[in-house]
């Protein structure tokens, strides 16, 4: 019974996505290029900063709680508010500020997720392994390299895939800033109604599922 309800809810979640393709022909071009550029910049920034933050958040330091709250802030703001704030900033800085603003904001949305994934992956490394490495005479740098790096790289890749997919799909800020990315252009009346958006996202999610396996039981 519960399985049936869950299946129905899942169906309800997924049904609008293919329907979007019915809305019109597939048209790539400028919106696709814009989306990819913004998403690449956002992915790069989010992965770098998010990984560093995820590694740092494992330690204890003064102001850790405040840092955590600030890092999570972009996810907890109603999406229209950063849109309006960046529109005001773009007006003040000149209209060229819209594009970097969009990429920056997408990076800030994804960075906490990257940090979460990285921290989680590193926390799973058994502390006993470090003691064993030290007992065998391995210097701490070597132990860190051999024990942490194999966990770090897949986590970074998963975070990057998530950041990319998030940036390609985000629409609120793109619409307000007037950026012709895929979601903005795929609305009725946009330049490319019914676009190649869904396949892109599918690729991102598949990559995520393959790289991460987030529900693997604890080792």
């Amino acid at each position: 019974m519960r399985r049936l309800t869950a299946g129905l809810v899942l169906l309800g979640l997924l049904v609008p996505l293919p329907a979007q393709l019915l809305a019109g022909g597939v048209e790539g071009g400028w919106p696709l290029r814009n989306s990819l550029l913004v998403a690449l910049a956002a992915t790069l920034l989010a992965t770098l900063l998010g990984t560093a933050a995820g590694m740092g958040l494992r330690g204890r330091f003064a102001g850790r709680g405040l840092a955590l709250a600030l890092i999570a802030l972009p996810l907890l703001l109603p999406p229209v508010i950063p849109g309006a704030a960046w529109l005001l900033a773009a007006e003040r800085l000149g209209h060229g500020a819209g594009w970097p603003g969009l990429a920056l904001w997408h990076a800030l949305l994804a960075a906490p997720l990257v940090a979460l994934i990285v921290r989680d992956a590193l926390e799973r490394v058994e502390p006993a392994l470090f003691r064993a490495a030290a007992a065998c005479g391995a210097p701490p740098e070597l132990a860190a390299r051999r024990l942490l790096r194999p966990r770090l790289l897949p986590a970074m890749a998963a975070g990057a895939a998530l950041a990319f997919a998030l940036s390609v799909g985000e629409s609120s800020l793109a619409l307000l800033l007037g950026a012709e990315t895929l979601p903005a252009a795929s609305l009725p009346g946009g330049a490319a109604a019914g676009t190649a958006l869904v396949p892109l996202i599918v690729a991102g999610v598949l990559a995520l599922a393959l790289l991460r396996r987030p529900f693997q039981p604890e080792a």
């Binding site: 996505l17 494992r58 703001l77 999406p79 619409l175």
Partner: protein
């Protein structure tokens, strides 16, 4: 092996600095515009300087009338830039006291044609200058900051005596805000029962299937609001019901994923043990699953409420006639009405902050 404090702080610093520069600073600037007064001060500097000495009782003295005449004459003499400044000032004053919208340009024209002392020419040109209300509105709008936009966003205005009264658009403004907050609350409450079976399924499934399910649930979330809204508009047309349903369904993944992660991490052992000892399914739900899922539920609510409160793409597409708070904010920002946009931002941030504090307490109480 945890990083030492200095290293940890240095690793976190770049992201924190970027958040401060790219999120906190623009947000602060927007909020400041919600209280800043920028329209009247550039147009009527002399008048405002004179009004500083006015005690607010009765009419200001002759010097204020003289200064107003001088300011208006200067604006007329300045040509195009002057008339623009006057239009902005008149717009701002008219938003407070509707009659004043016409008074300022009218006075400027008629006072220039009257042959008396400048102070008298103002009074002759328009009777509005014989009322303390007009002067009080002028003084309030001429300061560096005021609560005018904040009050207007909840449909109130300040009277000359300092009290508060309903503005002309009062009921409409309050309905706008309440509708937005109500819809967000509804999204939170309605997504809970929808997300629960989905989260349990993800939590209980075998690893490979759980990853696939999580990917499928993540899919509509990552596809974005615009894609979902476009799909629903093809399938179901538009209307308030469709907009609300799309809002609720859009919130389900955000609620289901944290809950599923939480339950998955706790493992099936406790629930199995409770069932094996004869606890009823309802009891297992109440005593085992619900407490285990509480941090996930708090995280889900903390994500869903602001997302639903600030979504304007979907409602704008699926129900264009119904103004929502987020839609009004987006429209104000597009039109460059920064006073209104800043005030709406403040009123939308308030429930988000309250909800975040409440959920933080819930979370801490368990952990």
């Amino acid at each position: 092996m945890r990083p030492d404090p200095l290293r940890a702080a240095l690793l976190v610093t770049p992201l924190v600095l970027l958040v401060l520069a790219a999120a906190v600073a623009p947000l602060g600037a927007l909020l400041w515009r919600g209280v800043a007064e920028t329209e009247v001060a550039p147009a009527l500097p002399r008048t405002l300087r004179m009004l500083r000495h006015w005690d607010g009782k009765g009419l200001p003295d002759d010097m204020a009338f003289e200064a107003l005449a001088a300011d208006l004459a200067a604006l007329r003499a300045a040509g195009g830039t002057g008339s623009q400044a006057m239009a902005r000032a008149a717009g701002r004053l008219g938003a407070d006291v509707p009659a004043l919208r016409e008074v300022l340009p009218g006075t400027a024209g008629r006072a220039a044609e009257t042959r008396t002392t400048r102070a008298t020419s103002i009074l002759v040109a328009d009777a509005a200058w014989g009322e303390a209300e007009s002067w009080a509105a002028l003084r309030r709008a001429g300061g560096a900051a005021s609560g005018f936009h904040l009050l207007a966003a909840i449909g109130l205005r300040q009277t000359a005596g300092g009290g508060l009264e309903d503005s002309a658009a009062g009921p409409h403004a309050r309905a706008l805000l309440l509708r937005g907050i109500g819809a967000a609350l509804l999204a939170v409450l309605a997504s809970l029962p929808l997300a629960w079976p989905l989260a349990r399924w993800m939590a209980d499934a075998a690893p490979r299937r759980a990853a696939l399910l999580a990917g499928l649930v993540l899919l509509p979330l990552l596809a974005g609001e615009a894609a979902r809204a476009a799909g629903w508009s093809v399938l179901a047309g538009s209307g308030p019901g469709v907009a609300l349903a799309a809002l609720v369904l859009g919130a389900v993944p955000l609620m289901a994923l944290p809950v599923a992660l939480c339950l998955r991490r706790a493992g099936p052992g406790l629930a199995r043990a409770a069932a094996a000892h004869g606890m009823s399914p309802l009891g297992v739900f109440r005593r085992v699953h619900w407490p285990l899922a509480r941090p996930g539920l708090a995280a889900g609510c903390a994500l869903v409420f602001p997302q639903a409160l600030g979504s304007f793409v979907g409602p704008g597409l699926l129900d264009p006639d119904m103004p929502w708070a987020a839609g009004a904010l987006a429209a104000a920002a597009r039109a460059g009405e920064w006073g209104q946009a800043g005030a709406l931002t403040a009123w939308l941030l308030l429930p988000v902050l309250l909800a975040a504090l409440l959920l933080l307490r819930l979370w801490r109480a368990r952990a």
